[in-house]
Amino acid sequence: MMARKKKDKSQRWTLSDSISALIPINDNFDTMRSRNARTGILFILPLIIGFLMFELGPLIQSLSMSLSTVTLIPGQGYQLTWNSFYNYQYAMSVDPYFNEYLVQELGRMAANSIATLVLSFVIAVILNQKFKGRTVARAIFFLPVILASGVLPGIESQLTFNMLQGVSDEIAESSGVNISGALQDLLSVSGVGSGVFTVLFDMIDAIYDIIMASGIQIIVFLSGLSAISPSLYEAADVEGCTAWEAFWKITFPMVCPLLLVNAIYTIIDFFMKNDNQVIEWINNRMTRGFYGPSTAMSWIYFGVALAFIGVASAIISRGVSHYEN
């Protein structure tokens, strides 16, 4: 550990280092380290150009909007008057719903993302096994990716009357069969841990939504699983490793880096969902003319999202080992 830390320090880029690595006429230019740095920058050049060209301007604009009072001038656009952090204060303490929605959505997101991750991992492991009709099953599990994307979820919610929805609700009502409800009654009689049960049964009832949200994660896990060389399992089998042990010692560590990707994707997916109350509320405020506060709200929302991602990746990357480390 100590050695690694020392190495990190020697690899840090100081200002003079970075400048001399980019300017041809000095000793530092032709070192291996500078050459690698230049190659690296060349590789990420598309991102740098793109970010500076398309993303930075709008970001600064939005940030300055969140820090000022926006007054619309008819025919000329808008005018900004600096009011320091008033908008943020407004969002957190004056606005009636923002706080409430934010806390609610965070709770829902935490529960749902864990469920999504576990479910998608299990499904991916199963789909990676060899069985009859695997291609068909894989194709079906790809459907959520399509159905949850772009124009498709919105188009059917525009309908005045949705027959697909209506029929299944009607069947459930008329037949009186509500399996998860009955189970819940049965289990909650004992009265132990009813809070946990409620969360669990909410998830079971929402399994369709969870499956619909886990299409991408399944594919990502599958691509990782299919890249594991079968010879690893053969070797483990010869050494007397059981399937359970092989799962925890081979499959899980090999897919771990993707776990991080998936966790982040899942969190972001929940943050960006259109049926998200917070986003709905921000849009609502925006259309009612509260420009400053609504941009402040979206910045708070980004901040919370970033913090969540940071915590999740810190927790998960503890367990993930990269070859380079």
């Binding site: 880029w13 280092d17 380290r33 690698n36 190659t39 920058i41 590789f43 990420i44 598309p46 991102l47 150009i49 793109g50 970010f51 060209m53 993303e55 709008p58 970001l59 939005s62 499904i123 199963i126 789909l127 069985f131 291609t135 099953a137 894989r138 194709a139 790809f142 459907l143 959520p144 990716v145 399509i146 994307s149 772009g150 124009v151 498709l152 919105g154 059917e156 309908l159 009357f161 027959m163 697909l164 399994i207 619909m212 594919i219 990502v220 691509s223 990782g224 299919s226 890249a227 690893l232 880096p257 993707l258 991080l260 990707v261 960006m272 980004f302 970033l306 991602i309 990269h322 070859y323």
Partner: protein, 338 residues
């Protein structure tokens, strides 16, 4: 006589093998069967849940209008017709919009994935100044919804100009909207739909490839670009392919970028925008007079929208079935794993 003699010992041997192993073979067989039955049930249940709405849509799509109001018709259509498909094709200017969508999606996703692969590799392997800052930018692209930057971008492309070059040449800024150029530009600079995610995925994958592979290539005198294309890229192919797939699908159904950067016109219709306005167009289609909108019955609306959704999904599923084979085959291609 002889054949009998040969058969008998074999049967005996099978039973005795189980006995000699202490019932191991029998147990293993039972275990195998139980696992496959449980697995089958689980997969079947989940698949059914996903596919049931699609099957309902499909059967609905074949019904004549009178079947929709007949309460004795539930799952299977009584009067089968393909006429509905023709109507939907008319409504969405079908072959034209689909061809456009295929072409745009393919171009955009290839550009996006190519750029993201390069950037992901750069982040995974090289150490350069401000690396953390640039990576924070990647995370920012992932987190910030495209809606926030849409309007400024729109204006940006309407009056596109780099350092006043176009202004000095032609006297006015260059209006890029209405063509594929803004789209292609954004794709090649990793600013397309969810591109931060692809960068992140690919970086994560490249980090997992042992460094010794590249070191060996370097010692053998392989150039950086060659190492990338001959060693790293084949190894990362499953991930690159899945990124391509996501990119293609998201582009295919995307409404947001399409609507903003390829404004609607009749010469280049895109399927997603056509589909999104299908309801308003429907009411005009069924009216006798082109200027009057009629109210289309809800069931009919749903039927036609369902067909639109089905038509949208089918090419993507076919594409997936082909690419997922390559996922599996790419094991053989991938290099050594430590």
């Amino acid at each position: 006589m002889r054949t009998k003699k040969v058969k008998l010992p074999q049967e005996k041997k099978k039973g005795s093998a189980n006995k000699r192993s202490g019932g191991y073979i029998f147990k293993a067989g039972v275990k195998k069967w139980t696992i496959s039955i449980v697995r089958g049930l689980l997969i079947f249940g989940l698949c059914f849940m996903i596919i049931q709405p699609m099957l309902t849509r499909f059967s609905m799509s074949l019904m004549q209008e009178k079947d929709l109001y007949d309460s004795t018709v539930v799952l299977l259509p009584r009067n089968v017709t393909l006429d509905n498909y023709r109507i939907v094709f008319d409504l969405t200017t079908f072959p034209k919009s689909m061809i456009n969508t295929v072409w745009v999606s393919f171009l955009v996703s290839v550009l996006q994935v190519a750029a993201c692969t390069l950037v992901g590799y750069g982040f995974a392997r090289y150490n350069f100044p401000l690396k953390k800052l640039w990576f924070a930018c990647v995370v920012a692209i992932i987190v910030i919804p495209p809606q926030t930057i849409a309007t400024p971008l729109f204006l940006h492309f309407r009056e596109f100009d780099v350092l006043g070059i176009f202004h000095s040449l032609t006297g006015e800024p260059y209006n890029m909207l209405g063509s594929i150029t803004p789209y292609a530009l954004m794709s090649i600079t990793c600013m397309g739909l969810k591109n931060g995610l692809y960068i992140y995925m690919l970086r994560q994958y490249f980090q997992g490839i042992p460094k010794s592979l590249e070191e060996a290539a370097f010692v053998d005198g392989c150039s950086t670009l060659r190492t990338f294309t001959k060693i790293m890229l084949p190894d990362a192919m499953p991930t690159v392919l899945s990124c391509f797939l996501f990119s293609f699908v998201w582009q295919w159904t995307d409404l947001f970028y399409t609507r903003n950067f390829i404004p609607y016109n009749t010469t280049t219709p895109m399927y997603s925008t056509e589909l999104s306005s299908i309801l308003t167009r429907m009411s005009r289609y069924f009216a006798a007079d082109a200027n009057v909108a009629v109210v289309v019955p809800p069931a009919r609306q749903q039927q036609l929208v369902s067909i639109g959704v089905l038509v949208c999904c089918i090419p993507l599923i076919i594409l997936y079935i082909f690419t997922q084979r390559t996922f599996v085959e790419s094991i053989a291609m991938s290099g050594s794993k430590e």
